[in-house]
Symmetry: C2
Subunit: 256 residues, 2 copies
């Protein structure tokens, strides 16, 4: 089995991403919600079509596309008009994924603005628009990667018990697929770890006067009600595409 499909390796990648996500949440929560960052037109800057967040995210993706970030199977861009890489292509010989078009980034960005930011940040406007948007970009990219990692998880689960999945996939039975991929025990382990890490990572900062820190409960809420469900949605979408995409049949890999 390709190294990317060993469940232990996937699990380690997801655990590593928890640090990036929690560090990102802690950084963003230092600033107010700053709604002006998310409204079309730059704050005070006249008739610019994009919001400040979109402007910064777009600029960032343009430069990262040039160094081939979005050729990696574990990266999905938010924008689709990006320049070609200026670095020579890497060959991802171990890419275990079936060809797929799953990209939930529009949904992720909308939810982030309307559901996550109100949980992370105190209400109000502190004029720190640039800092807020820079932190948003970093955090959104980490969240997108974490959520889309569901593709690797799903492929791993499929190869573990292909017959059970194949029946549900061919019937397009999303409910059954969702049941097959769900492991309540593992989800609870993630939440316990996130709560514990948040407590550890904010413990020093919490003692600073005037410091707004996320709580373990907030981090768990975001994971339980948003990151985990979207990750599972990616898994279901991926599996439905995996067997039902006539134009791109997947050359099935099995465990050796």
């Amino acid at each position: 089995m390709a190294a990317q499909l060993q469940l232990a390796n996937i699990r380690n990648a997801l655990i590593r991403l928890e640090e990036t996500i929690l560090f990102g949440m802690i950084e963003r929560s230092q600033f107010r919600r700053n709604a002006a960052v998310y409204q079309p037109g730059l704050p005070g800057g006249g008739d610019h079509a994009e919001s400040l967040l979109d402007y910064m995210l777009h600029e960032c993706e343009r430069s990262h596309a040039k160094v081939r970030r979005y050729t990696s199977p574990d990266e999905q861009p938010f924008f689709h008009d990006l320049p070609e890489p200026i670095l020579p292509a890497l060959t991802y010989i171990d890419n275990p994924l079936a060809p797929n078009t799953i990209n939930l980034n529009n949904r992720i960005r909308e939810d982030y603005i309307h559901r996550v930011i109100p949980l992370l940040c105190l209400p109000g406007d502190d004029k720190q628009y640039g800092s807020s948007a820079v932190n948003d970009v970093n955090l959104l990219q980490a969240l997108s990667k974490r959520i889309h990692y569901g593709k690797f998880v799903a492929e791993c689960k499929f190869q573990d018990t292909p017959d059970a999945f194949r029946a549900a996939i061919r019937a397009c039975d999303a409910t059954r697929i969702m049941a097959l991929i769900t492991n309540a025990h593992v989800e609870q382990e993630v939440l316990n770890r996130v709560a514990n890490k948040t407590k550890i990572y904010t413990g020093e900062l919490d003692q600073l006067p005037g410091m707004h820190c996320i709580t373990p409960e907030t981090a768990c809420t975001i994971y339980r009600d948003w990151i985990i469900p979207l990750n599972k949605q990616v898994q279901v979408d991926y599996l439905l595409q995996r067997e039902n995409q006539p134009g791109a049949p997947h050359n099935e890999r099995r465990a050796p």
Copy 2:
């Protein structure tokens, strides 16, 4: 006294930056040294004048300049051909600093490549050039901010005992100024906190198989031998400019 000059506020800003720097070190240390990132010409990409790091840093600074990052008194750019802001200017009414031209970023970048990277990363090349450079940019920007915060520290110390400083400054006695700004007890407190935080922040990750993590000793070495001395250099340079710059006399502020 302006809020920015209360020693407690400066101290809190520096403590907050420790998280950003330590998180950044942890992220970068996941990848190999990847010397190709720092050599002129993009890796495998032909005759590009800039290294990949410089290319990414330059692109990042261009987009951040547009959202007025470098109009803030606590930010210094690495490049000097940046575009004008597209956001309306903020007025930093509380800026307590004397006009100054202190910018150690060229030195910071050179030392980062040749002294810090070998401490953070395992030797070798894992081809993760884009990820390495993205993490370098974030970490370099945090390090630059931390080091240049010496300007605020120096102004604060000056206003505390202006007569002692003024004599040393007018004599251009850098050694005497260095002695006046040095507080070995505070430096040891910083090192103790950095060691403790690194232990906390890497404790979870350290248990993952195959994971390379920085040690508390490494983080302390970088702070003790590099960040703190450069921060003190900024303080001395700032104080020398403060009183000796005929073109830009500083309208001295005293504590009320």
